[in-house]
Subunit: 652 residues, 2 copies
């Protein structure tokens, strides 16, 4: 027998279960501590998906019991809609089986691998079967199924299946025994649940740790996230083979109706336009499309202007939760600056819509000498592992942060400095680098969106730094002008035996700013009073509006006019005068900072407040110019003014 | 219908081909440039595997033709054993089909996914089928098969299958048309083939680029790598489920014979010992093993001393090829130092043997201000992508390189400095993080081995730096003693009108070293003469052996005694005398440096040579102590001696 025949004898089909049994690291099971987190995560992600789909507020119990050295029983129980009896073995005992694979809609699970992979890992490492109890609303009893996976066939092997009286109306209970290790701290079940709770405030999650400690992540809102709608693929970035497949299997009879009914954002008018640009008859049968014709169609897709994909298939985290997520990671550390979180417009890669969101905190008590911390989320799921493999990290590394005031060797790599960056990618299909769903692949369209979001944050950061520097420089000037100048004037006046001249015009001429300062008093448990001081160092009377923001629902009282999440004051202030305002907040454990905004005044003369968004895009270089000019002037103009003034005194 | 029923209706099986069609990034197809490299790589890896298995010197043609905008036809043709007719459609048209999945042996392909994934990607992006021609030695004709993949079923769909007259005796020709982009430079087909050629010098690879340029990577040796033998799993790290499966399906009747016949490195004696330690009867039927008994067996595995796994299932690259690989990356840059490559002993993770090899070059003309370059290989395949996700990178980042003289912020992360590190992981099963086989998962056992190899390299690097510093310090001393001291002595003698005293004893007392220096003359095209100078600055006559190494097969002539890859001289030298030696080398394009070694002398007094390996492990701290002492002494002792001497002159 020749070598080719001998080799042929060995060639055979490999079942997907066998494959993963030998490559469990691809599913994320590459260490004992990781196996723990991955197993809990797969079960909890499923529970959250099921509850949201059924529009039920999730109430999830996670219980971890130690049953031997490095052996744990993991129990996850939810109040979701349950699984119909005949599907239970398949859902838990067959890899590549699921309901969300073909739907174009944002969900945590998409692959039909996760939970059955946990069952597989459990039986591989402990030899023990999984136990599932599930009850649906329409039935009186629950069903208990005990099962393993026949890896050679990738089929469930049911050991026991029986009805069971369960005191829940509906829900699912999963028990898997796995070899693993339980830790707290970084990259732990606790961290995963904590971050999950933050971006899923509609869920109540209870964790019972192996030592019996109970941690409850309370539901923070009774509002479920908007339901995500299933959509059709968007024409941008669709692959030729996919287009051909769709054309071959469509039930429509005309190319135009194929385009309008099987794609999102293609109106009849646009469909006509596409056909025209592709030199195709609109009434041709789509099933007869040749490769060459399909290529022309794809080229035509890129020649027409299509609306962005509908956003209701996506569920972004939103500004507030991003801020909250960052605050939570900070613990008791106070940052110096919260950037306004960025939510980009939805974009498309390979026909799949996606949205990028990002947030940043900087400075204050954050450690200065470490690489910037990066928090990654995909479809509301925290990503704890494989940071280096993720497009989020690659985007962070490829932005030149030196331009925005962070230290970064050679302008690439993770920057160093007191900052935390949060990025969320939401998509109907997040392109993970592997079945473990730990990192997002480096898809150019996604990378670009993340970079743009990061640069927006960077510009805000730079603006903050410029203002901070400006404030600190102006502080010196302030001291010089308000303390030293009067002294000198007084002395000089004494020497020449003349009265001290009025200095106000000089002072305001030198300072030429409006100064806004706050001071936060703790007035009770979780209550603060924020006192705002506005000083006019301009040589004229000013009138403008001052805004201060606060977390929704915390305002107790103010002397301004209250909006939903801001207070506004009408400021009218004479030269060299101060004005005081205040507001009181309750329920503000861990209250951070107020952002102040001004309207109706040139924002470049204001220190301590931003231009009201809308005027936001005062360009960085303008600010830099102002600052540079000021830096120089401190040495020149000021000196001149002071000298002039003193000469004046002497002359008289 | 309730929500659970509605959801159940959507639940269905997903074929692995459908799965990858929607998740092509998991296979590495996440950008057009990467798709090109991945496709070539899968085909070439298969060719190399097939040739090696058939013990044929590989001769591989890679031809890339541009057939439209971003569309290329990739042709890979080899002289391998071919594929039998009936298996051709399955090998190329079915994912998870292969011969190497169940074998415990080192090979490039292991998953049965690679090449069919390329076919899948081709049809998805261009709609075009793949074309395969294969001929086996035993048949007169070749067969041509044109096929696509039925993704819903994960089965080949044969469009044409016919015999074909082909003028090869045996071999395989694959043609796939894909959407991709062809680039040169970093992470390109060229780089992949170049690095592949270096670690597979037995292969001849010809690349024809889209513009018709032809690049030939010539075969550098006619010796195939040692054939890798298929082995049984090693008991260390095996999973319980795997053990139970093996026990249930074994054909043996006694536990002891199960252990000896189904595992590697378990002798009858060891098997008895294992059974005893597990409190099990050696003659029990392995099929009846309970979970608890299997656990005891696993505990017992760890209580007996088992030999390391046999190495003949693995095929390391070896010292020479590691050096060559590094040299090749350097191009025309000359490094200051080549560390001696490290090959670790084989170890086991999860029952799979593996070996780690590593090399390092440093200094010279390498760029100083950049992160260290890391070259990664797995089973003789270069890894070009996903550096951040790879255990090799993680190991490099977790070693504290500051201890070894490289710059590294906070003692973690990729160090910065003029160095290149090469790491090769060879295993019967490399735990890749995904099916794209771009990065190795963070398996603790593998990480530890890499770290140990890196630390060995680090110690050599530190030693080199210490010696360099020492040499540079001694150079100053040398200048002081041989130039200034005689001058001073002469002047002093003149002043006091006495003859100049003999200075030799003083000089040797101050220097107290043996100085070895080389000078390389280019004596012809690819010919050099290396002149070696030995100077004795010790106050006594010395006798020792001096070794100099050179690349095998390059020596033309020497005044020493020639070994296979070194020359040895017997040195006998009086105080303050020099001796000269030489050797001539031919065929040394890009000749780097000679390493010198000494034997029979305290190596700490020798500058310019290492202790002969064997004495290698002179500890770093000893060297550091010597250096520190010397540094201090330059200021004290020397001064004293000089003063003493001059006083002596004056006194006379």
């Amino acid at each position: 027998m020749g070598i080719a025949q001998r080799m042929a004898k060995k060639q055979r089909e490999i079942s997907i279960a066998e494959f993963f049994e030998k490559n469990k690291q691809i599913l994320g099971f590459d260490s004992l501590t990781k196996a723990m987190v991955v197993s809990v995560k797969e079960a909890v992600d499923n529970s959250l998906d099921a509850c949201e789909e059924a529009r039920i507020l999730p109430d999830i119990l996670v219980k971890i019991e130690s049953v031997g050295k490095d052996e744990y029983r993991i129990i996850v129980e939810d109040n979701g809609p349950g699984i119909v009896r005949k599907n239970i073995p398949l859902v838990f005992g067959k890899l590549l089986y699921g309901s969300r694979f073909h739907a174009i809609r944002q969900s945590r699970g998409q692959q039909g691998i996760g939970i059955s992979a946990v069952v597989l890992y459990g039986q591989l490492t402990t030899g023990k079967p999984a136990r599932v109890i599930s009850k649906i609303r329409e039935e009186d009893v629950a069903y208990e199924v005990i099962l393993t996976i026949d890896t050679k066939k990738n089929e469930p092997r049911v050991i026991k299946e029986a009805p069971l009286i369960w005191d829940r109306e509906e829900g699912t209970h999963v028990e898997v025994t796995i070899r693993a290790r339980y830790t707290r701290g970084k990259q732990s079940v606790l961290e995963y649940l904590q971050q999950t709770a933050i971006v899923n405030p509609h869920a109540q999650i209870t964790l019972i740790e192996p030592d019996g400690r109970k941690v409850v992540f309370k539901r923070a809102t009774d509002t479920l996230p908007q339901p995500t709608r299933e959509i059709k693929p968007h024409p941008y970035g669709i692959e030729l083979g996919q287009l051909l497949n769709m054309a071959r299997s469509t039930r429509t009879y005309r190319l135009t109706s194929f385009l309008t009914s099987e794609f999102s954002r293609v109106s009849p008018k646009i469909a006509e336009e596409i056909c025209e640009k592709a030199y195709l008859y609109g009434d041709m049968r789509p099933q007869e499309l040749t490769i060459e014709e399909a290529k022309r169609l794809m080229d035509a897709f890129n020649k027409v202007r299509l609306m962005s994909p509908p956003t209701d298939c996506l569920s972004p985290i939103g500004e507030n939760l991003i801020k909250k997520g960052l605050k939570n990671v900070l613990g008791s550390l106070k940052p110096g600056f919260y950037a306004r979180p960025i939510t980009r417009e939805p974009k498309v890669y390979g026909g799949n819509p996606f949205i990028v969101e990002a947030g940043l905190v900087y400075g204050g008590e954050l450690p200065k000498d470490q690489p910037v911390k990066i928090l990654r989320f995909a479809n509301r799921v925290p990503l704890l592992y494989q940071q280096g493999a993720c497009v989020i990290t690659k985007a962070v590394s490829s932005v030149d942060w030196r331009r925005y005031g962070l230290e970064q060797r050679g302008g690439e790599g993770i920057p160093v400095g007191p900052a935390i960056i949060l990025v969320h990618v939401a998509s109907t299909r997040v392109p993970f680098t592997s079945e473990a769903k730990e990192a997002i692949a480096d898809v150019p369209e996604i990378r670009e969106e993340i970079e743009l979001a990061l640069k927006s944050l960077g510009r805000q950061l730079k603006m903050f730094m410029i203002k901070k520097e400006r404030k600190s420089k102006l502080s010196e000037k302030f001291f010089l002008v308000t303390k030293i100048l009067p002294e000198i004037a007084k002395k000089s006046a004494e020497i020449v035996e003349k009265p001290v001249p009025p200095l106000e015009p000089v002072i305001s001429k030198i300072m030429n700013v409006v100064w806004i300062d706050e001071n936060v008093e703790k007035t009770g448990k979780n209550e603060v009073r924020v006192n705002v001081k506005v000083a006019n160092f301009m040589p004229k009377t000013l009138e403008f509006k001052l805004y201060g923001d606060y977390p929704v629902g915390t305002l107790i009282e103010t002397d301004g006019v209250a909006g939903e999440d801001y207070v506004v004051w009408d400021v009218r202030i004479e030269p060299l005068q101060y004005q005081h305002f205040y507001f009181r907040l309750g329920d503000v454990s861990g209250y951070g900072e107020t952002n102040y905004y001004v309207e109706g005044i040139n924002p470049s003369v204001v220190v301590g407040a931003e231009p009201l968004p809308g005027d936001w895009n005062i360009r960085l270089d303008v600010m830099e110019e102002i600052l540079e000019k000021e830096a120089k002037e401190v040495g020149e103009e000021e000196q001149e003014i002071i000298e002039d003034e003193l000469e004046g005194v002497e002359d008289e």
